[in-house]
Symmetry: C2
Subunit: 287 residues, 2 copies
């Protein structure tokens, strides 16, 4: 068997063409690399380079060897990656979500069920969520679209409708509903950590009117101190506090109303059965 360091050095030489360039890249001396390549050829029993005019050039066999060396190193890296992810998945529950509201809900539900495990949660795009489920980076993902994937178990979770928040003395304050096109001239305060909602806002509204805030505290202060508009949602109002100085107006665009789905790997479904049961019964209570 060939030691890994020889293959790494070999691929360095293949990539950088000369021993000197590769040695610098690999942070070892040129003579050391020269010896390593000799050793590799010795162990394979096959010449990988032709040495002429103080140049080393890959042979045909060397090119073949490079292809297979790549595969060997890739398998080695996959071992490392997979084992670390697997260990992580045993000791913690990792949740990815496309939006913050359902994440906090699911978080507390999971905390009750897995009190002995660390919960890690983060926002991510839908495709990153699905990839993450598949490679065990996430155990749960909250999506806003039904994925078409055999490997995933998906359960409908909860709906959320965007509301537009305005001071009570705003000209639009007595409207029964609004649409994104009505808002295009309004300055709007927005929290950066809203997941996929950010993309919808960026698509529907002029960028220069979106005052995006990194810190929630700052956002709240600004809402209190100014007459700028902002967003909320039906489910946030149900659980959170309503600002008495503001009115909340529904948006009639179809993008403002989403359904969230909770997903896990099919192979994990049994393990998390009680989670999905809780969600299902909670959904029934809401109906």
């Amino acid at each position: 068997m060939i030691e890994t360091y020889l293959l790494e050095q070999f691929l360095g030489v293949v990539e950088y063409k000369t021993l000197s360039a590769a040695a610098e890249e690999l942070h070892i001396s040129q003579p050391s690399l020269s010896r390593s390549m000799k050793k590799l050829e010795e162990e394979l029993g096959v010449p990988l380079f032709t040495r002429e005019n103080s140049k080393i050039i890959l042979t045909e066999t060397g090119k073949e060897a490079a292809e297979y060396a790549k595969r060997a190193l890739q398998a080695n890296q996959e071992l490392i990656d997979h084992v670390r992810l697997y260990e992580r998945s045993l000791n913690s529950i990792n949740i990815g979500s496309c939006a913050p509201f359902p994440l906090s809900q699911v978080n507390s539900l999971l905390q009750e069920n897995f009190y002995d495990k660390t919960l890690l949660s983060e926002l991510a795009d839908d495709d990153k969520l699905i990839k993450g489920l598949k490679n065990h980076y996430y155990q749960f993902a909250i999506l806003h679209e039904l994925p078409d994937d055999e490997a995933l178990f998906v359960q409908r979770y909860i709906d959320e409708s965007l509301l537009f928040s305005l001071p009570k003395d705003h000209p639009f304050a007595d409207r029964k509903e609004l649409s994104f096109s009505d808002l295009k001239d309004l300055k709007i305060l927005l929290y950066r950590g809203v997941g996929f909602w950010m993309k919808i806002c960026e698509n529907k509204l002029p960028k220069e009117n979106l005052f995006i805030q990194d810190r929630m505290e700052t956002l709240i202060e600004l809402i209190e101190a100014t007459a700028f508009a902002s967003f909320s949602s039906d489910v946030i109002l149900q659980t959170g506090t309503k600002d008495p100085d503001r009115v909340y107006i529904p948006l009639k665009d179809k993008e403002s109303c989403v359904t969230y789905y909770l997903a896990c790997l099919n192979s994990d479904k049994k393990k998390y059965d009680n989670i999905f049961n809780s969600i299902r019964s909670a959904a029934l209570r809401r109906m």
Copy 2:
């Protein structure tokens, strides 16, 4: 990246369950193996064993790691095997054949065309020949059945018909033809290196009547010194010498008449075009 020797040692421990047993198997000391496993866990950043009661037991993560370690070592071994075979295929032409007669013919044809390369030839079963072509162990194979395989280029080569050889004073000597069933009471001298013909003889004739000889010289001496029967073929008589003290009688069974095919990989076909052309024109001359 994880060095190869650590993975080999790890899989040794996985297989032999205890450090002491694995150490003996791997021909290293037990403490060395103990340190290696610690180092592996250290480098992965993940525990692979639980250590209790002076026992080490694989964790769930350890089992996953073993699976991936196997793949990594397999990729490493494939690198070695493939590179060696590839180098071999560049420097020599390797021919496998199901029978000796066409092999010697093809051998001399190839010798003319590749005077700068070493020719290696050997007898083998048809399935070993096809496998050998596919993994570049052989560049050419002589088969006696048309293979059904997309990856292979196959050209009809030559026919051979078995003849039965008898002393002129043998009761069967004036027969025009014979069949295997006629021969079942005769003692028959046979050379071991006849390739697939051996299987046909073993199927059609009683084992105790086959006097198989390892050395061709011995066979010839025995044929001259005894009245036992033996085999020859039409093409052998055409190129070789006919024994004036013997008669040669055709066998009417369909198994006694075969067609040989010369095969190579489709991807190599262009490289060997002139070889196949020579064969084709030689075949036309015989018609």
